[in-house]
């Protein structure tokens, strides 16, 4: 005798006609909306931290403080001489893979967001910048390197990015923690709503459940009817929430991209991140199914 699967089986409990279905669907939609936006924030921050970490490991910056001289040409020549000495020294350091002094055009590009396009920076005593790439597995003592560099080229100072980037990473980690807490809270609130809705429904259908028990239905048989219904509501609620969340994520992303300075632009969502976001309706469905199943089993235990 083949058995009928629980998906296609006739449902004796009239769960489709319950007024609480719409309420629950709205709750799940809102939860998935908040969850998707927060999750996209968490994933963006993760990618940002990852990019920053890579930059910490991969490069350092050396500044050549401009020589103070009333003769501009002479001052520039001296400054360039210090830069040359610093470049030569850096090339000799073990673990350094590439040393690139920034050109005037590159310096212009870096400073223009702050000073505007109309300012001629050659009139200003701006430092020269050397971008230094280092091997990821190089073990460099930056304090010693800084002292050696100062000896080789007295106008040169070393910036390993570590100090300010570490502060930014700590800040981002904090944001991540808050966002993760929000995710947990949203999941807990959703589960709570499903728990109470299911309990209310069990009370409402007490007589039917009693008859089902008397004719030999196991708790699992009844729980499966709730699991199926709540899973459906969770999935549809998830789709609706996602429908509104995706445009919102793009909108927030565009707003973030408009902030210049290269910090936010490191926060991007990859294919895997989007896959996680688009799987949220399934996640909502499984939470709804699990919560409903658990609630029914626990509640029915108290019945004979």
């Amino acid at each position: 005798m083949s058995k009928t699967s629980y998906i296609s089986r006739k449902q004796e409990l009239p769960l489709k006609s319950e007024n609480t279905s719409l309420f629950l669907q709205i709750i799940i939609s809102i939860a998935v909306f908040i969850f998707a936006i927060t999750l996209s924030g968490v994933l963006s921050i993760d990618s940002m931290i990852s990019n920053w970490n890579k930059s910490i490991l991969g490069s350092i910056t050396v500044q050549i403080i401009p020589v103070n001289n009333t003769n501009k040409e002479k001052a520039l020549a001296e400054t360039m001489a210090y830069q040359e000495k610093a470049v030569e020294f850096l090339k000799s350091v073990n673990g350094v893979t590439k040393v690139t002094p920034l050109t005037d055009e590159q310096l212009d590009e870096l400073l223009s967001p702050w000073l505007g396009d109309d300012v001629d920076i050659s009139d200003l005593p701006t430092p020269r910048i050397i971008d230094v790439k280092i091997s990821p597995d190089a073990e460099i003592d930056f304090a010693q390197l800084s002292m050696d560099l100062a000896q080789a080229s007295p106008q040169a100072t070393l910036d390993s990015h570590k100090l300010w980037l570490n502060k930014l990473i700590s800040f981002a980690d904090g944001l991540n923690l808050i966002a993760s807490t929000v995710l947990l809270l949203v999941a807990a609130i959703t589960s709570g709503a499903i728990f109470y809705t299911t309990q209310m429904s069990l009370g409402l259908h007490h007589n039917i459940i009693e008859i089902l028990h008397i004719i030999g239905a196991k708790d699992t048989y009844i729980a499966q009817q709730y699991t199926k219904r709540m899973g459906f509501l969770g999935f549809i609620g998830g789709i609706i929430g996602l429908f509104f969340a995706v445009p919102a994520i793009f909108f927030i992303g565009n707003l973030a991209l408009n902030i210049e300075g290269g910090i936010i632009s490191d926060a991007t969502l990859g294919f895997g991140d989007w896959a996680v976001i688009f799987s949220l309706p399934l996640f909502a469905m499984f939470i709804a199914m699990f919560t409903a199943y658990y609630t029914v089993k626990q509640t029915l235990k108290k019945m004979l």
Partner: protein, 237 residues
């Protein structure tokens, strides 16, 4: 767990609701497999309570009950469900699921046991035709008459050929012809091995079908056999 031929055994069973007095006290009962009993007693004597103990809808306040050789004190929820599948129950108030059709109500015990839908359709159609409800097969039970509901309830209780059939006033809402037909169904099931207990107030049925009686009186249970005419005549049923 004892291995004997008794379907139900009760020892010193008492039942009370809340803090009230016991409505049944020191019930001692053995129902042999394949037996047929009427359950009688005045209104409020505890017939429905005794039946509910038998169909495992409640636990006794004291004493021990064994059903199909399973001591209920040592039976888990899933085992209880399996035992209940072997029991058919006809309620006095039918207890049908009014949002479902007559067909779906009768199919319920088969679906609960996971039977294939094709087999369910065959069996349910056959039985509903037999109880003359083929025209109302797909009507919701909420629109059926009392007698029709009664027949749906009886069909639901016997559809899976139970080992034990418990019926609370099963012929109370049907005419004499249908009542006779339903009683014959119970008798036929009994001949096939089903143990039957029918709670009834009907003298006619009790007199027409000479089966022993479980009579509830003064919170206790007394068994009367049809051959014992002196006791039989003294009952107030």
């Amino acid at each position: 767990m004892t291995d004997n031929k008794n379907i139900i055994e009760m020892n010193n069973v008492g039942i009370r609701y809340g803090q009230g007095p016991e409505i049944l006290s020191d019930i001692k009962l053995s129902l042999p497999q394949g037996s047929f009993y009427f359950l009688t007693g005045q209104s409020g004597a505890g017939k429905t309570s005794l039946l509910s103990l038998m169909y495992l809808a409640q636990k006794p306040s004291r004493g021990q009950i064994s059903v199909f050789n399973h001591n209920l004190n040592f039976t888990n929820r899933d085992q209880l469900a399996s035992l209940r599948r072997r029991i058919g129950v006809v309620f006095q108030d039918f207890r049908l699921l009014d949002h479902l059709s007559a067909f779906d109500n009768v199919a319920l015990p088969l679906r609960v046991s996971g039977m294939d839908e094709k087999e369910i359709k065959k069996r349910v159609t056959e039985l509903l035709t037999w109880v003359e409800l083929e025209e109302h097969m797909f009507d919701k039970t909420s629109i059926l008459s009392g007698g029709e509901k009664q027949r749906v309830a009886i069909a639901r209780s016997v559809i899976n050929r139970p080992d034990l059939l418990l019926a609370d006033e099963p012929t109370g809402n049907v005419d004499n012809i249908i009542a006779g037909k339903l009683m014959k169904l119970f008798v036929e099931l009994n001949k096939l091995g089903t143990t039957v207990v029918i709670a009834t107030h009907s003298d006619k049925i009790i007199n027409d079908f000479k089966y022993p009686r479980l009579h509830l009186q003064n919170r206790g249970l007394h068994i009367y056999y049809p051959t014992d005419t002196s006791m039989f005549g003294g009952l107030n049923v």
